[in-house]
Amino acid sequence: MSAPITPGAPLRPLIEARGVTMRFGGVAAVAGVDFTLGEVELRCLIGPNGAGKSTFFKILTGQLKPTEGTIRLRDTDITGAEPHAIARLGVGIKTQVPNVFNGLSVHENVFVAAGRRKSLARTRAIVDETLTRLGLTGIARSLVGQLAHGQRQWVEIATVLAQEPELILLDEPAAGMTHDEVHRTAALIREINRTHALIVVEHDMPFIRMIAKTVTVFNQGRILVEDSVDRVLADSRVRDVYLGKQAA
């Protein structure tokens, strides 16, 4: 079983998945995954394409209902709950393909995310703070649909932060970014991690090295290994699955 490895992690996990399985017809995209994340923990998920990482994210956020297994967020069973209900419990996600409001301005994107059940003054404060934090103030009035891919990624991260979640899921946050943007993203993730728990899916190994403490490796819907970043990246099995050497 995957007990929290991080030294000093609190006893009660933030999120706990037990035996989560997702079948599409005969294919099990996720097969019996046990996954635990502590409060304010940063975890990286890696694995080859089709390993089930994004499917696992969709299950955590309620976009897919698992065929089997349970997911608990602190004391709440969120298995199969509606996405908006899970979001209200404090889970935010940047999806792999950016989901942003293309026809709205950057400011409006963040405003809508920040404004749920909050006073106007509080909402505006959050919007200002988030835009400044992500360096989006200069393009606040631009239409998101007209921005470059990297900028759209940042807008999406801004909307996720603006909703003030406790657990943040980032699916390939560095994809399509320039070298400089990747570094800024890594710095941002480390900064967010001071107060928030994160799960980050990435393929970019240098990026993983910049941010990761603990890494979970997915392969063929299962957890292959879960260990500290140095040991995982030195693991021959991990190299094999990335290079496709492992026999099916």
Binding site: Q63, R88, I93, F101, N102, E108, R116, A140, E156
Partner: protein
């Protein structure tokens, strides 16, 4: 707030709202002074159909709900008014009934559609089918056994001699032509202002955000089903009020209000005037109705053929509709006048503010 300069588009949009409001009020008070009785009565009909266009423009252009059977709510509103005013005498309550009945019906229909996760295209099919079912249903109510209280539904012949609106508490003094004009046009201006307010509110911003990306809205914590349902109900209420005015305009209502051509016509209003605006569908309604009348009063080409050609021309040449094109031209003009400034982001206007 963010210390970014206000985009000219935002200012223009506010200006547009005030200009539309001023124009609406000018027409409201100017028309009875300048038009003869025939013209005024015609304009009262235009106002009723403009309200119908407003309803379609809101639900389709802003909530992104492909309600292609908006005539169902127009018809329900008209029939609800007719039946209740014949029974009650005083028109105050019937006007409210004409708004509430379509809203409740939309609530029921919308609940099954949105909470049943029906996809957009099928929402179009279902709403259209529902309007046709209502048409057939009301069409089949010939005979004195089909009556609600004192009101005979009358089947295909409809309900004649519907009592006109009256001042609250004075059922014996129905409004004259001038009075009906003030009621219809006043209601139109009011509905426009209310919908603008709805879109400027936080609820409205979320509705537009859901149109833009339902998944993102959901992942932020909004329930798209609820927002779409409420927007659908608001639009149904506006269509119901349009139906009430329409019934008042002719003093008569028949099942044709539920018909396919009604549902199609209102979609054309929106396409011609501009999807994603509020003022466009109103202008579209007036323009198309005026064209229909003009086409009917000449004998050179078949009127339906002529109208069809005009519509095809519109879709090919001005696919965005009239209002967005005019607004784009205005924006470009302003840009050219202020060359020292960096090019303003035309799209930077709040989308909800773009509703003129």
């Amino acid at each position: 707030m963010t210390p970014s300069r206000p985009s000219p588009a935002v200012g223009l949009s506010l200006l547009g709202f005030l200009a539309t409001l001023a124009l609406g009020l000018a027409i409201l008070f100017g028309a009875p002074r300048t038009l003869d009785t025939f013209g005024l009565v015609q304009c009262t009909g235009f106002a009723a159909l403009a309200m119908f266009g407003l309803s379609q423009g809101f639900v389709w252009g802003f909530a992104g709900v492909m309600s292609f059977g908006q005539a169902a709510f127009l018809g329900l509103g008209g029939y609800a008014y007719a039946v209740s005013v014949i029974n009650l005498g005083d028109s105050t309550l019937p006007v409210l009934i004409a708004i509430v009945v379509p809203m409740l019906f939309a609530g029921l229909l919308g609940y099954f559609m949105f909470y049943g996760r029906i996809s957009d295209a099928y929402i179009g099919v279902i709403t259209l089918t529902v309007s046709v079912i209502l048409f057939q249903l009301v069409n089949a109510t010939s005979g004195s056994q089909y009556r609600i209280g004192a009101a005979e539904l009358g089947g295909f012949n409809g309900i004649p001699a519907i009592p006109a609106l009256n001042l609250p508490g004075h059922p014996d003094e129905p409004l004259d032509n001038d009075g009906l004009w003030y009621a219809a046009m006043g209601a139109l201006v009011l509905a426009y202002v209310l919908l603008r307010a709805v879109l400027a509110s936080r609820f409205g911003r979320v509705v537009v955000a859901i149109r833009e990306n339902e998944t993102r809205a959901q992942l932020i914590g909004y329930d798209p089903r609820l927002y779409k349902l409420l927007a659908f109900m608001i639009a149904a209420g506006v269509a119901g009020l349009a139906g009430c005015l329409y019934a008042n305009w002719g003093g008569f209502i028949s099942p044709t209000v539920f018909g396919l051509s009604m549902s199609a016509q209102v979609i054309i209003y929106v396409l011609v005037g501009g999807l994603g605006t509020l003022v466009g569908p109103m202008l579209g309604a007036v323009l198309i109705q005026w064209l229909i009348i003009a086409a009917g009063s000449q004998t050179v080409v078949d009127s339906n053929l002529g109208l069809g050609l005009v519509l095809v021309g519109f879709v090919l040449l001005v696919p965005q509709g009239l209002v967005p094109v005019v607004r784009g031209l205005l924006l470009r003009l302003i840009e050219r006048r202020t060359p020292s400034r960096p090019a303003p982001e035309a799209g930077g206007a709040l989308a909800t503010e773009r509703a003129r």
